[in-house]
């Protein structure tokens, strides 16, 4: 599948924005100015971007606790995301959601989700809306290898087939559910293989390769849009960091992580693949722009005002 230069630049820009955002959060988190849990998406960029480059605002995605990458890939505002993670009033959720609950329904982003397996049932709901109101949109869930074994996910997959919903289940297999390896915790050893049992097609792709993800997603999404029903994509990938910022980080050795950063970096792989098609200069410029953008987002988030305490009582119907 041939992409235009603009499409390639757009994809790279999204991936680079995610990387900058996450690397910067890794640093900012050490200052103690960010509360709560942070789960970084560095290393998995090609999955979110490879998929979301095929989507529009009328398509809805659900995400996971490791959701920043999906948000950025789906078009959420980076300044508002950063302000949210800093708990500020200018945040996308006015500081009420935080890292694990960033959402922007106008962009078709139905929320990062603190519940493993929480996304797929919601994604089939979005697909039901699209089908019933004939919007032309689809629903799509990003779920990890951990969530792939969840009962919620299985129920949603079955329902999607029964009702022939326009929905895609993306399984990002980064090898670990928290600190437990998928070789241990996923009984079937192959997540994509489970789809057949539900009666839907599946494809397993190299999730470090933007183009592999893009093409598989393109096919599945077009299929869903044509009313041919749901499908599964398993994308194997790696997280550069541990489960959450500040965890013991013992499940992989330094050498393993160095190897991944050197040989499995989706951005490096992308740059190699587009050599001759897109100039290094243009890509370098994106690198600079992303850095400046994230830098500005952090500065503004730090300077932004906290929510008024009265906000505690808004956006819910009653307060006793």
């Amino acid at each position: 599948m041939k992409l235009t230069e603009n499409q390639l630049l757009d994809a790279y820009k999204h991936m680079r924005d995610i990387r900058e955002f996450e690397e910067r959060l890794h640093d900012e988190n050490t200052t103690g100015d960010i509360s709560g849990f942070i789960h970084l998406y560095s290393g998995e960029e090609a999955v979110a971007v490879g998929v979301c480059e095929n989507l529009t605002d009328k398509d809805y995605i659900t995400s996971t606790h490791r959701g920043h990458g999906h948000c950025i890939a789906k078009g959420c505002d980076i300044h508002a995301m950063m302000a949210e993670i800093f708990g500020k009033d200018e945040g996308l959720c006015r500081g009420k959601g935080g890292s694990m609950h960033i959402a922007d329904l106008d962009k078709g982003m139905l929320g990062a989700n603190g519940i493993v397996g929480g996304g797929p049932p919601l994604a089939i709901g979005a697909a039901l809306t699209a089908k019933t109101l004939k919007t032309g949109g689809i629903g799509l869930s990003f779920t990890g290898d951990g969530g792939s074994s969840h009962g919620l996910t299985f129920e949603a997959m079955n329902m999607a087939v029964v009702l022939q919903l326009p929905v895609i289940f993306i399984f990002e297999n980064n090898g670990f559910g928290e600190g437990t390896g998928c070789d241990y915790a996923v009984g079937s050893k192959d997540i994509a293989g489970r789809a057949a049992g539900f009666g839907m097609p599946a494809e397993k792709v190299d999730g470090t390769d933007f183009f592999a993800v893009y093409e598989a997603a393109h096919k599945a999404i077009e299929r869903a849009r044509e009313g041919k029903g749901p499908s599964v994509i398993e994308a194997t990938t790696n997280r550069f960091y541990s489960h959450f910022e500040g965890d013991p980080g013992l499940v992989r050795s330094k050498e393993e992580i160095e190897y991944i950063r050197e040989h499995k970096d989706p951005l490096k792989i992308f740059r190699q693949k587009v050599k001759g098609q897109v100039s290094d200069e243009k890509l370098d410029q994106i690198d600079k722009d992303s850095k400046a953008l994230v830098d500005d987002a952090v500065k503004k988030a730090r300077a932004a005002k906290n929510p008024e305490v009265s906000q505690l009582y808004t956006d819910v119907y009653v307060s006793y």
Partner: protein
């Protein structure tokens, strides 16, 4: 106005809203019934129309696209409902028995209930979860409970527990039009009671208690089936010159605190009847409210009439002993009058 059953009042609310608003859909197992079965498919029959026939006729009028039969998988039912509600539909999920919340509560508790708040007011989940509550049907421990107190303790959920056909129609119409997730609790022993119900559509606002009996000596606060038992006791005691007021909050989240406290202020004696739980239930919540905000009106300790802290038993003898009875309510009323 005409006489209608509680069951038909509920169906009317749904059917009127489905005609009025094309985004209203019904989702659940056997809301039609008979998908995938030869006889029902060939003859275009509704196999069930809801397990106890509440939604019978809707599929014939609206078809499979809006009356959506699902597998018997409650997490997917409620999750799909939540996702659809957040993206433009106004779905009504049928959980069948409220007891089944145990297998799917994440989709209400952690998802739908929290969308609006957690996403900073930029999302909503206009959905209704209908389900049956209540003992007295010999349905045993997993099909007889009334867990509305669990729902009411969850911020973001509205909880409706109607006791009459009139309330059922008006409150369900309000529930469907409401922009927040509503849990609508239907007592299975009330489906066949009848009452005057307007033929047109109407709404009853949430958080407004109904005084089903007016009185001056004792206040009984009760919900759902228990309202009928309280009324029975009030009518009986009226013959002895004891004047009992019965307050039916109708919705417990929001709760009409003023409506309750006003009655307590006028009688000073309170009995709370509640089918939910012997501990941490609706009765205990209202008792705490009265102790905190109505203490100086009280002339006697508050009496609670609840089931024992046991699962619901099967045997009819045991089940009748489990359910708060008119006799127990009467004893409680006499007790608060002794002081």
């Amino acid at each position: 106005m005409s006489k209608k059953s509680y069951r038909n009042a509920i169906k009317e609310a749904i059917e009127f809203e489905m005609r009025r608003d094309p985004t209203v859909v019904v989702i659940g197992e056997d809301v039609r019934g008979g998908h995938g079965a030869k006889n029902t498919e060939e003859n275009k029959l509704e196999g069930f129309g809801g397990v106890l026939g509440v939604t019978k006729g809707l599929w014939t009028e609206f078809g499979s696209e809006r009356v959506i039969d699902t597998p018997i998988t409650e997490s997917a039912i409620i999750g799909m409902t939540a996702g659809a509600a957040a993206t433009g539909l106004r779905p009504i999920a049928d959980l069948m028995f409220m007891d089944f919340y145990g297998v799917c509560y994440d989709m209400l508790y952690n998802q739908a209930a929290k969308f609006r708040y957690m996403f900073g007011g930029k999302a909503k989940a206009p959905m209704v979860v209908r389900g049956m509550i209540g003992a007295g049907f010999s349905a045993a421990a997993q099909h007889s409970q009334s867990p509305y107190h669990i729902f009411a303790s969850t911020p973001g959920l509205k909880v409706v527990v109607p006791s009459s056909p009139y309330d059922a129609k008006g409150l369900l119409t309000q529930s469907i039009r409401d922009d927040d997730p509503v849990v609508f609790c239907e007592h299975k022993l009330l489906y066949d009671i009848t009452g005057e119900v307007p033929d047109d559509d109407y709404t009853i606002p949430f958080g407004v208690a109904n005084y089903t009996r007016q009185g001056t000596d004792v206040t009984i606060i009760a919900l759902s089936l228990m309202v009928h038992r309280a009324n029975e006791v009030a009518d009986k005691l009226a013959n002895e010159g004891i004047s009992v007021e019965v307050v039916d909050p109708r919705t417990i989240s929001p709760l009409d605190e003023e409506g309750i406290l006003e009655s307590v202020a006028s009688t000073g004696r309170v009995v709370i009847v509640d089918e939910s739980a012997a501990r941490c239930g609706f009765a205990h919540d209202v008792a705490a409210l009265i102790a905190q905000k109505g203490f100086y009106s009280l002339k006697a300790p508050i009496e609670l009439v609840t089931p024992p802290h046991t699962p619901v038993p099967f045997s009819n003898v045991l089940e009748q002993a489990w359910l708060p009875s008119a006799e127990r309510i009467e004893i409680a009323v006499r007790k608060v009058l002794e002081v």
